[in-house]
């Protein structure tokens, strides 16, 4: 049966477009707003926030002792230690949180937390990705290329002066130190001279503001 769309409802209305969170060299996290060609840093998050991500209307923050989630104005929290990495499965509207210190996978869906029975592979988990209920793990390889999943599950690989995602490749004048997920499909690429953002489905690389610059 074909649907009939009844009306447009500006639920949550208008907001500055978020592109993720940027970690500065001093370890603090800054919200990054913008889109291709225009990026803007917000004010730094509280220093106790060690990881953060936004997936649509869901904001997740991790401190050293707590996981905090804000969704549609409702607040949720769970006591968990250490660093975390996140993945959002838009099909099932489930947030996955990999708790590195506990080596456990936490799920958040429909306003409730639960531990997943899934077991992580051995090694240091660099990133996780979730799509239609399927979870993928990225294990950090000692001496291997720098890799991550972006928020849409694309695998990014940085090796020396090149970064690749899917069939795309980008070359830089300086070695790429790191590649990290931002949000909204953006990946953050760092070289000695700057920070850049790119999307797997876009050709252009954009320079993004650097918070440390005096």
């Amino acid at each position: 049966m074909l649907p009939a769309l009844l009306a447009v409802l500006f639920q949550s209305g208008l907001a500055a477009p978020q592109a993720g969170f940027l970690r500065a060299d001093d370890g603090r996290l800054y919200p990054l707003y913008g889109m291709q060609g225009t990026f803007l840093l917000g004010a730094a998050l509280d220093p106790d926030v060690i990881a953060a991500a936004r997936f649509g209307s869901l904001l997740v923050e991790k401190t050293g002792l707590e996981l905090r989630i804000i969704e549609e104005g409702r607040h949720y929290s769970a006591e968990t230690k250490g660093h975390a990495s996140f993945a959002w499965d838009s099909a099932t509207r489930t947030l996955y949180v990999w708790l590195a210190e506990e080596r456990r996978l936490l799920r958040f869906a429909n306003g409730a937390f639960s531990y997943s029975p899934l077991r992580a592979p051995d090694g240091e988990i660099a990133a996780i990705s979730a799509r239609k209920g399927q979870l993928r793990w990225l294990v950090r390889q000692a001496g291997g290329p720098r890799e991550t999943f972006d928020s849409e599950g694309n695998l990014w690989t940085a090796s020396d002066f090149e970064v690749s995602c899917g069939g795309r490749r980008w070359s830089f004048d300086h070695p790429v130190h790191s590649v990290d997920a931002l949000g909204e499909g953006w990946a953050l690429l760092r070289t000695r001279t700057g920070r850049y953002a790119a999307r797997c489905n876009g050709e252009d690389v954009f320079e993004i503001p650097s918070p440390e610059t005096p």
Partner: protein
């Protein structure tokens, strides 16, 4: 030339007044009596001795006579006579000896009231030294008078020519001519130099500072000594000019800007490039107009010797964000006292849609549209959805007046013209067949209609 000699202490009593005589060198006073040997000097060079007369008595004393006799001797900076000296006061003057001819034993006399002092001096044959100006004039330089060079850029040269003349009848040999000071050199190095009577010889001193700043040296010519003075300066920086790419006139761009020079730089330096923004509309500033590398609206650049473009941390251009607000950008480059500016007008444009993302629920379609409106005047939004066969989904075009929502948002946002619009569509039945959509935005610049966007 000043010498201090101590030969005679002379007391002159006049009532209760008592005059004491001293020769003075710096802070050193030496009592003076009978014979004063001034020493020797070069011909033509004055030889000065400072004499001090002090009234050590209890009443005022009057200097009623102050004279000097003998060829080549004279008083210099002497007080008017008669001259009253209050008790414990003193008065200074010079006895000067100068001779254009060599003299081995020049005698003279100094008389102060009733006191007489025999003066003794000598003049040694020496050349006359003249500074030759470019217009041909000659300026005699006495020993001790500085020779000043015009300031030049670092590594550049300025020169001064000197004429050395033997004014005497017999031949004259200048045993040593030398220049000290790293920035100075003599051309040619011509010592010993023998000059026949009335013969002249030109020498040249080159001033070539390797660094900027004041420089000093000395020209020594036997007993003659001429201070050398000059200043080196950094080469003037060229005039900057800002090179803008065409995309700098469009919103939502990262444009690469270069700063070129009107000539090759001949030295190192630094400058600043900044961007200013005058919005074409009322409302908050657009903070996204900045140089990402500094997260500010200014960036420093370097000027390197031999380069014709500025360097931004080794790059020949710098990225600037044009932001998402219509208006006028003013770029200003400042370096070396020069200022260059260039303007870029960003015209009002229709709404730009960057991304559209959708989440399908059983009975709801949750849509997020990201884009920017550089006029901040978006008013009407229209959505049209299509199924997998390309047919429009009922009720067809869904039009909404979002003017108030946009106005409120743009009045308070700190993101310029950027926005993320969330629209939720309740649906009858599954939204799975919804495959494509078209969007239409209306603002002051016109109507922007996207093509079909596939989810």
């Amino acid at each position: 030339m000043m010498r201090s000699l101590c030969l005679l202490l002379w007391f002159v009593s006049s009532g209760w007044a008592q005059l004491e005589l001293f020769s003075v060198s710096g802070l050193d006073e030496r009592p003076l009596s009978g014979l004063l040997n001034l020493g020797s000097t070069a011909t033509g060079e004055p030889l000065d001795i400072l004499i001090r007369v002090r009234n050590s008595g209890a009443v005022a004393a009057t200097l009623s006579a102050l004279t000097v006799s003998g060829a080549g001797y004279r008083l210099h900076q002497d007080p008017p006579i008669p001259f009253v000296l209050p008790p414990r006061f003193s008065v200074d003057f010079y006895v000067r000896y100068v001779s254009e001819q060599p003299v081995a034993d020049a005698r003279g006399g100094l008389r102060i009231n009733t006191i007489t002092v025999t003066l003794l001096a000598a003049a040694v044959a020496s050349p006359n030294v003249f500074l030759l100006e470019d217009d041909g004039t000659r300026l005699r330089k006495m020993s001790g008078q500085p020779i000043v060079f015009i300031s030049v850029e670092r590594d550049a040269q300025s020169r001064r020519r000197l004429l050395i003349e033997n004014p005497h009848a017999p031949a004259l040999t200048v045993g040593s001519i030398s220049v000290s000071g790293d920035a100075f050199r003599l051309e040619p190095a011509a010592a010993p130099l023998t000059l026949a009577s009335r013969q002249t010889q030109t020498i040249e001193i080159v001033f070539q500072p390797a660094t900027s700043g004041p420089k000093s040296g000395v020209l020594n010519m036997d007993r003659l000594r001429f201070p050398l003075e000059g200043a080196g300066r950094e080469p003037a920086l060229p005039r900057p000019r800002i090179v803008l790419p065409p995309e700098v006139t469009l919103s939502g761009k990262q444009a690469r800007i270069a700063v070129g020079f009107d000539s090759v730089a001949r030295g190192d330096g630094a400058g600043t490039l900044r961007v200013e923004f005058q919005p074409a509309i009322a409302g908050p500033d657009d903070p996204a107009i900045l140089f990402p590398s500094t997260n500010r609206r200014s960036v420093a650049f370097q000027v390197r010797n031999g380069e014709s473009e500025a360097l931004f941390s080794s790059q020949r251009d710098i990225v600037v964000q044009t932001g998402t607000t219509a208006g006028r950008l003013r770029f200003v480059a400042e370096m070396g006292g020069f200022t260059a500016e260039v303007f870029a007008a960003i015209a009002a444009a229709r709404v730009t849609v960057d991304t559209v993302s959708a989440t399908r629920g059983i009975d709801i379609l949750d849509l997020t549209v990201k884009g920017f409106d550089n006029t901040r005047s978006a008013s009407e939004v229209a959505f049209t959805f299509y199924d997998f066969t390309g047919n429009r989904i009922d009720p067809g075009e869904i039009r909404a007046n979002a003017a108030d929502a946009f106005r409120r948002y743009f009045e308070s946002t700190t993101a310029g013209g950027m926005f993320a619009l969330r629209a939720v569509f309740p649906a009858v039945g599954s939204t799975t067949p919804v495959m494509e959509m078209e969007l239409e935005f209306r603002n002051q610049a016109g109507v922007e209609r996207t093509g079909r966007i596939r989810f």
